[in-house]
Symmetry: C2
Subunit: 428 residues, 2 copies
């Protein structure tokens, strides 16, 4: 289908035939903006302002302290967690929405290391990819020092080879934040378990964007982000999942009162709550958590239309179209696609690179109403990246058309070479 | 002055003469409600709904990812931290507003333990009070296990005696959440330093309510709460302070990317940021942090009227009045004040106890429009508590009059004995 798309008219027709087209109406998007950065900050759900105004003026303003019970604030990390569970192949009672991804990774990785030390004390390695999102590596580095273990970083292609009898935990991000390359979670899970290692997944660029089945993939722990494809708003709380076979084996070290068996007994000694409850720590930022609740609902709104499978189909069609139009219209401009061509290996964003000028091109596009983002390379193995995320809830085929069209204008006019687009750092 | 107050009329007159009376107008309080639980969840600032609506619809909705720079989201933990610094005797650049109190305590206590292990390796004790807020003890318990140290808990009166050469860190909450008893921070700080111990303070029930001078008190680390007297909204981010002499000595273990020297260089290895920056971990919940910003502004609004000193004077006058009216009007009902009588030893709430019925009395009062709260005792040393917090920004003298008046009605009518007010757990 995609290869036959050669005009704006073709894209308009694809949007008309899109079974998910009604979902865009759930969002309040700026007029005329082509937003291809929902993988960094999801768009504003139309229901969010009113729901939040009610939470602010009624629940906080009028209900005050009573709202912890009457407005269900206490239960919100679990209630939102149960909703997220439906998107990632987990079950009710296994997921919490709270804290940040980094903090949640600290909790679950620390539990994984305790389990590994107990069950396989000879294993001293946490294995990950050098190209993993850095915060995951920093947290792993901290916990390895704490537990007398070692963080081993390899290139993506070397994982299988590096997965030996010394590996206690395999820590991976499912979809790479730079390239969009996606692991085969089930295959990796099977491999890790055959080798005797635990699998910890970061779903930051997966949850809400690709189909996930943590149980089928033999995953052990997972964390993920609330403000990307879950549309929870800036810095929305993150989530964590613990396989029920692990949840009560050890304490996680952030043993705050919300994770106590009886937080309101105010006992001086810690007794962890049953199940996933012990992965709570302190009081959660309710306004941001309520926004996340609304955001997750936008993804669940796809359920009657085919759910994650339908979202995934559209996401792939959009990134395929992007690559197709690039090939058709931008040959000779030095841009190459670094995201995998194979649908099974690609998440929901598409990344380009260029020998130089990546930052300036992204800036020139933003000025022309196409918001993607730039990720700096390391000057060697990993090049500078121009990143364009599609969110099948609200990205249209015509958005892809216009994005490539303006990229073509920026390149062929040389507009990106204007000094005002000078090199600098950018934002997640 | 207080001892001459014998009528509603007297209280009305005190309100008229109150130099801070205009500040109540900064809040949107439910009509007719007497809210004496601002020590648990501060009231809604009148400016919050509009500021948050702008953040939601404009910054998130229209600005989208660009708002991390254009709306100053990145800098908000520091900017709000700098404001809080003015309330606690810290300097700009020393305070961050982020995460939860429990998580911040984990960061600073872990840094304190690393410093102690380095500077005084023989010291193996973290000393605290058995009556400290439990989450502080749970976090200390976790870190003591991690560092091969021991948590020693004593009753409040035994602190001086227990502060010996084995103590690495003294961990105290400045104002006790149950009794309202307040430590003399400077005296304790001097004592601890003479003994060679580091001082870590929890300011949950102090910041925004009592005058604080962390530098003068020779404090080493501090954490505090955003949703109580700082009026930051339900579960607002907390704050932390590190004395500049400590801030770069060690890493704290929650080494997420926001605490990296160059978060957007995306390096695989962690390099902590300079100064307080390394106490950041992951992305912060912006909507809740913006609400906290507005809340802190309500406290800063007192600066032209005398600031924290004026707020403290009024807070003491209000709790003194409460105790005076209780004595005058509730003798013989078995209620006794457990908060210190001495102004220098009392925070901003007043706590009562009764041999039985404390929970039911609080419930009966709530039903009659007086919101205080109940804190369960442990059946031995620490009795059940009826807790009434005053917030000098919005609590009026007449509120105290009506609260005691309704308490008198509830007690003398025996209304609290109605079975519908049965015993159960309550909320922070």
């Amino acid at each position: 289908m995609t290869s036959a798309v050669n005009s704006l008219q073709d894209c308009l027709q694809l949007d008309e035939q899109d079974p998910l087209r009604s979902l865009r109406g759930l969002f309040d998007l700026p007029d005329g903006l082509i937003y291809l950065d929902g993988n960094s900050l999801g768009a504003l759900p139309r229901a969010a302002p009113e729901r939040l105004a009610q939470a602010i003026t009624q629940e906080w303003g009028q209900g005050l302290i009573r709202s912890w019970n009457s407005a269900g604030w206490f239960e919100l990390p679990r209630r939102v967690g149960d909703k997220i569970a439906r998107l990632i192949g987990a079950r009710a009672g296994e997921v919490l929405a709270l804290d940040s991804t980094s903090i949640n990774l600290y909790k679950v990785l620390s539990a994984a290391l305790q389990i590994a030390r107990h069950d396989a004390p000879g294993r001293k390695i946490v294995l990950s990819e050098r190209s993993n999102f850095p915060t995951d590596l920093y947290i792993a580095q901290s916990l390895c020092e704490q537990h007398g273990m070692e963080l081993r970083l390899v290139e993506s292609g070397q994982l299988q080879q590096a997965l030996d009898d010394d590996v206690a935990v395999l820590l991976l991000t499912h979809v790479n934040y730079r390239t969009g390359a996606m692991h085969d979670m089930a295959a990796v899970g099977a491999l890790a378990h055959r080798c005797g290692a635990l699998c910890v997944w970061d779903l930051a660029h997966s949850a809400g964007a690709v189909e996930l089945d943590l149980h089928a993939a033999q995953a052990d722990f997972a964390v993920g982000c609330g403000y990307k494809y879950l549309n929870g708003g800036p810095g929305a709380p993150a989530f964590l999942w613990v396989h029920p076979r692990h949840s009560e084996r050890f304490w996680q070290p952030l043993s705050g009162w919300w994770g106590h068996a009886q937080p309101f007994a105010f006992e001086p000694g810690y007794r962890p709550a049953a199940g996933i409850g012990r992965y709570q720590c302190g009081t959660q930022p309710m306004l941001s958590l309520i926004a996340l609740d609304v955001g997750v609902d936008t993804v669940l709104a796809a359920e009657p239309l085919g759910g994650m499978a339908a979202l995934r189909r559209k996401s792939l069609a959009l990134t395929r179209l992007f690559a197709h139009l690039l090939q058709q219209r931008l040959a000779g401009h030095g841009l190459s696609v670094v995201s995998p061509q194979d649908d099974d290996q690609r998440g929901s964003h598409i990344s380009l690179t260029r020998a130089h000028g990546a930052y300036a091109i992204v800036q020139a596009l933003i000025e022309r109403g196409v918001v993607g983002d730039f990720r700096a390379g390391d000057g060697s193995a990993h090049p500078d990246i121009l990143r364009f995320g599609v969110c099948p809830l609200y990205t249209r085929y015509v958005d892809i058309w216009h994005a490539v069209d303006r990229l073509q204008q920026v390149m062929s006019s040389g507009a990106w070479q204007d000094a005002k687009y000078g090199q600098q750092q950018s934002v997640t």
